[in-house]
Assembly symmetry: D2
Homo-oligomer: 384 residues x 4
Amino acid sequence: MAQRKLRGGMVGGGSGAFIGPVHRMAATLDGEAEFVAGAFSRDPVKSKSSGQEMGMDPKRVYSTYQEMAEKEAKLPADIRIDFVSIVVPNNGHYPISKTFLEAGFNVICDKPMTTTMADAKSLLKIVKKSGKVFALTHNYTGYPMVKQARHMVKSGMLGKINKVVVEYPQGWMSGLITNAGNSIGMWRMDPEIAGGSCCMGDLGTHAENLVHYITGLEIDEVCAELTAFVKGNRLEDDGNVLVRYKGGARGILYASQISAGEENPLSIRVYGTKMGLEWRQEDPNYLIVKDPAGLQTRYSKGNSNLCPEAQAAARLIWGHPDGYIEAFANIYREAYKGIRAVTAGKKIPSCDHPTAEDGLVGVAFIDALLKSNTSKSKWTRMKV
Amino acid sequence: MAQRKLRGGMVGGGSGAFIGPVHRMAATLDGEAEFVAGAFSRDPVKSKSSGQEMGMDPKRVYSTYQEMAEKEAKLPADIRIDFVSIVVPNNGHYPISKTFLEAGFNVICDKPMTTTMADAKSLLKIVKKSGKVFALTHNYTGYPMVKQARHMVKSGMLGKINKVVVEYPQGWMSGLITNAGNSIGMWRMDPEIAGGSCCMGDLGTHAENLVHYITGLEIDEVCAELTAFVKGNRLEDDGNVLVRYKGGARGILYASQISAGEENPLSIRVYGTKMGLEWRQEDPNYLIVKDPAGLQTRYSKGNSNLCPEAQAAARLIWGHPDGYIEAFANIYREAYKGIRAVTAGKKIPSCDHPTAEDGLVGVAFIDALLKSNTSKSKWTRMKV
Amino acid sequence: MAQRKLRGGMVGGGSGAFIGPVHRMAATLDGEAEFVAGAFSRDPVKSKSSGQEMGMDPKRVYSTYQEMAEKEAKLPADIRIDFVSIVVPNNGHYPISKTFLEAGFNVICDKPMTTTMADAKSLLKIVKKSGKVFALTHNYTGYPMVKQARHMVKSGMLGKINKVVVEYPQGWMSGLITNAGNSIGMWRMDPEIAGGSCCMGDLGTHAENLVHYITGLEIDEVCAELTAFVKGNRLEDDGNVLVRYKGGARGILYASQISAGEENPLSIRVYGTKMGLEWRQEDPNYLIVKDPAGLQTRYSKGNSNLCPEAQAAARLIWGHPDGYIEAFANIYREAYKGIRAVTAGKKIPSCDHPTAEDGLVGVAFIDALLKSNTSKSKWTRMKV
Amino acid sequence: MAQRKLRGGMVGGGSGAFIGPVHRMAATLDGEAEFVAGAFSRDPVKSKSSGQEMGMDPKRVYSTYQEMAEKEAKLPADIRIDFVSIVVPNNGHYPISKTFLEAGFNVICDKPMTTTMADAKSLLKIVKKSGKVFALTHNYTGYPMVKQARHMVKSGMLGKINKVVVEYPQGWMSGLITNAGNSIGMWRMDPEIAGGSCCMGDLGTHAENLVHYITGLEIDEVCAELTAFVKGNRLEDDGNVLVRYKGGARGILYASQISAGEENPLSIRVYGTKMGLEWRQEDPNYLIVKDPAGLQTRYSKGNSNLCPEAQAAARLIWGHPDGYIEAFANIYREAYKGIRAVTAGKKIPSCDHPTAEDGLVGVAFIDALLKSNTSKSKWTRMKV
């Protein structure tokens, strides 16, 4: 029996945005959902025109997210949206999520979850109380081979994990270093909007989440140095972190926006007592397992030798590259399982997407980094 | 102003098919179209159940493609499908395309276009007469960096092209070589369904099309050896071809289904008097330019230093991998330009998708290979 | 007990030569030999000055190779050279080898062995009659991972071999294509010196030898197209070949000197019924085994999981790259085993270096290519 | 005019050693030197037998290095050694270097230079006073493309350097983690022999030296965490370091011996305001330059577009891999320039090899790491 299409709304993501279209493609890739409502911009005119471009019913293109939440909630159950995707700058995540959750909607939200610890804790409570689905788009965990990596660690194939190196360098700000004028307007560099962190909030939290997803390790303490190389940037654009995980593993985590010439090479290397593994986002359909006996074995997406989760996460067979959108769509697909359960009045099943708990960890991670940095890189306990 | 969603139909691609879902994801990725009708299987029951799974109106899930063409044609203009996607085995391409074109529909069809030269020539005539869009899914030309390669050759950056090496080895049949029982049922090995070629029709035509797309070169003569390694296979599962292009360039083209352990590494290397270039489908977002001065330069998708066509073909910025589905979707996106023109009663603009002319060349290519092979690899002129 | 250093002589390889110094480094790398005599140039003055630069006793720097052979033969056994390295253009290989073998010396000779079939057959007879060591420097078989590849094929790990793709494109002549004036002087393009082939003699024979070394396959028939792209080149600078091996395997072999931007990427891919493998000369310390189950496994040099021959051929442990010189030195090291046996009056043991038999095959290979090419790429049997 | 062969002696490096043969191959690769004396083991019998295996005059195979220094010094100038290569565990570097320098010999010594700061400072004074050549075998700086990287940074091509990531993970100790019995005997884990550091002394100093060589950056402060994962190891087998360079650049440096499955992938990434670059020791003949405009350009060894130093450091042309031994030999080749000057009574010219000054920096680096580590990763100034 065919499932009905879920109805989505979007806050943010108007014309010209980067991540809005990604959410729209990802959310609808499998034909499970369609967007029917939105508040696409803080500028009501732009919101309207964006909705029009998408062919949306003008009545359901709202001027503010508050209006959207209020009016959608009043629509009949078979018309109103099932979920909202929140794709605005960081400081909007908390109030908008709160508003929609309290209005009875499921939420898909960009990361980092909030800009303060207080908000993160508050939101987690709101989520729990709501009984709704809250999914955070740490999209990189949607890749099939990341799921395979997780499976291998869990299965004990690597032995006890001793070391993790995760890196996420980008270079797009390098040109701004000596050229401050243009850059200051960017919201990512504005503490009022981005929160206390630029680079680590944007990239570092993905790195932290990826480590946790694959290895299950939890951070105990961090020792961080955050640097702003771009003139006039009040937040860091580069961060280097030593990490102590609970249980004794040690790690390096770094992220950067001034690593000239790097595009998006998020990568992770995990070393256990028996084996190592490596995954790189720019070549995402492969996973390298490193055997001290002198072998490096490349597993590839879409093969039947992978774990069920990795197989299910691939939309295509071997040799036919799944990309970023497909990985992103896997976050949505998992969220939809929960949303359909909620809609059907059932208990939310265990779904493989980042949650509000993960979001709180991410915010706590940034919080610990900032504290360590301001105390001359003193080892700082991460408190969730 | 928002464009209305185009309405698509599908022939073939029922539950369990590989390429059907790819077409559905690709066709709808940008929100430009939705599928509203289909004849998904020659088995009417399976057709119905497949349509149901997709949540389609049962009235528009047909038992046969003939019924579908006939009944859809009678629907009002604002309800009937705008195009049909044909995703059936090779021998269905001709009659189904013919039926829908003659019924007034635009057609998106899998390759190879037909199983005989006569059909190919006939279909080209039908297409021309119809005034409709006919797009052939040589999907690999949809990748952004393939468009960049084409641009570079056209611009003269490589100088005069002297040599082209294109290869498309797969290995999935290798296990069948000594194990004939299971395999004979596969339609790809059945001349009644696949036509005169198995490996070259499936893979070789992609390779041929890729060379032509990137370089503009036209094949003059081929010298081919086709081999069936799988026991009981009446068609070849491996083909090696020497190629003479018009104008003096020389080439190697090979395809294989018995290259054990290869997944889908279609690749092309083009050498001119000034530079060489290389593109590999399994790492599709990069293009390597080889400079005899001792430099190999990697261009990457999503950057502003690329030609407009390559930029437009990317859905995401640098470092965020576009995959197979996105490339496939580019074929649809280009076809939609023509379909919207047809629907609006306008002249079909120049669109960047493979056409019936390309399809005829592909069939002529197979025809020449078969003739060369049966004449002990004699050089054989390719006649279109 | 320490072995005495073998005494080597060299014909060719004077100041400015490319391959002379390679032979000198390779021959002496392990401290097993030193060069004490030479005829380094057809120009006696240059020969003298080259010998002087090497710090050699002027009495043993000769004006001609004939003089060298004659005078060295008259020296006491504990002074005269044990072997001669012949590093001159192709047409010198036969007469110089003949002269030294008949004068009682062991010979290390560059490839191709001779420029005609008659000479090749004659030389093989001379070698057999002489009871001396004759080693041909198909140096690429000296790499450790080539030995590992051979071992894997022999062991049956790949199953029955069905297909082999070997390629050896270079690009250094690409700049000459439109610039004929400078190039004609090159001896490689002069049939009087190079023999009937330029590209295939220089590169193609390495490719052929590599296939045979790794797989044991013998060529049955070839179908070849040889092309001269460089203006004024009377010999081919590009060659594409279809190959039928005895026993049913099929192959592609090509070599080129006009593949703009390629450096020296000799590579081989071997596909059996069970597995495939790939080795690339520009990344020589790794061997990729391709398993249809969805795994590609990289074996690396210097590990204890390799076959004894591969382990012995590595001078350094894992991760410490062995290079071209070390592989070349392995040819010498194997030849020295035979030379020491000859010197000690013992039977020559089985040594792992290319022989006069291999040299004859190489010349027969070129001969078959030329015949096929002049008969419009007709399949031509390779006769040894 | 030919130069005479320099005469070398060796301390350590007897039968079964890893690095002794490397020094012998490297030192003699270009025919510039030969080894004629040695004290190959602290065991006089093994020393003798090792010398015998090398075919050395038994009179010049000594029982102790002291005896060797004393007796060689008394030999006539045209017989005694010109230099000594010291290839013993760390704690031997200082006394043996001191002894030979004071006896009037040039010294080539393994790293780290000494095991204490006091010894390092003392040795630097002795070197200066001696007027002899002292070369430290930070061999990785001998690679041609490392010299090219240095050239590019110096030339300003990268802009101002802001970030450096250097890593040197190995995995060979990973198997020992749960298996303490076998490992404790290894000298690298014995503070009496290795000094205060295992992993950082062995690998970390190479990393530090590589950064300095390429970028010219000097370390200001370090923040380090050193960990012993192998049971019973009194020294660290893994070290993660945050680095502040003078002038504001920031860096990460790490080394490891428990990164399971890694072989020897020393690598460095340097990011400036304009460009980035990357070099990897396991693929040493290439250098990647990363341009924020969307290009990554691979420079390769042996081409004429490289700086003179990189060209001179290559023994072979493009596409013919130079390996570890050739890079090592470049350290010797540069040292020989100085040694020949000393021998000729001339002023030592500027030579491109690591010096005692570099050695002192390396020891100071370890010293700072140990201090930072014992003070809970407090930022610690590196004092030379």
